[in-house]
Symmetry: C2
Subunit: 151 residues, 2 copies
């Protein structure tokens, strides 16, 4: 680790805080547009980003909600058509939450706009610069993930 101009760190800290606040707002907007609460959208995001279907209990763990609360979340997501409850055939106590693939574009829509923004931003950089940015994003996520998880 080498040392850095204090003003530089100061500026970057401000960027991060603004980014942070904007992200929280963005999530709120996405949820609103989808007719969901922030909690419901967060759980749906977990389900979408997972490899296979998640169980209700796993969603409770990942989201930090009680199992009872998750029951309600899945009820609302299912009623809105975003997910389906499927009993695990190998262990019928479990409830698998499958994302309703038929309507992927329904909740994909708000993210389309974010994608457009991303394209617009990245368009200002050449290949070499994009590599720097990519390396930064990877490192940032990795470091931040450790920080958030062990904190």
């Amino acid at each position: 680790m080498f040392d850095m101009e204090p003003e530089v760190l100061e500026r970057f800290t401000l960027y991060m805080r603004e980014q942070s606040a904007l992200t929280v707002m963005f999530h709120a907007r996405v949820a609103e547009q989808m007719g969901l609460s922030a909690t419901d959208e967060k759980c749906l995001d977990l389900a979408m980003r997972a490899e296979g279907p998640l169980t209700a209990g796993r969603i409770a763990e990942l989201s930090g909600l009680s199992t009872g609360a998750v029951t309600g979340v899945i009820d609302r997501l299912e009623r809105a058509g975003y997910v389906r409850r499927v009993r695990d055939p190998h262990d019928r106590r479990k409830v698998l939450v499958e994302v309703a693939v038929g309507d992927v574009d329904k909740f994909g829509a708000p993210f389309e706009k974010a994608r457009d923004s991303l394209v617009e931003v990245l368009g200002h950089f050449d290949d070499a610069e994009l590599q720097v940015i990519e390396r930064y994003l990877q490192l940032q996520n990795e470091t931040f993930r450790k920080r958030v998880i062990d904190t």
Copy 2:
């Protein structure tokens, strides 16, 4: 706008989504450590990032909460010692919410760790690369801000 390899965009989209999810989790952790709800922490963040003290009504606008809800938020923040209510001497209807400067480090602490992470990440780049990253963050925030606000 020039076109870009689809896989590149794909990868960047994933970085953004992960960053997004991590940010939301991070905010939840910070709030938890401070003994506040996510909403209260969000409002405190608004108050801290503002130039001068904000009025209760302005916090309602910025946070998207009703004025009644903000009354509750300020009650809790004040009871916990994070802010003070001060009546505006020029317009005594208004309530100015001053951040309790004496205890800045109290709520600064969780952000210290984030700052450490940032230093660690930035330490992997030289000056030229940092300039690229800075330009990226500026553009990203600017674009995202427009997107979030007009959406």
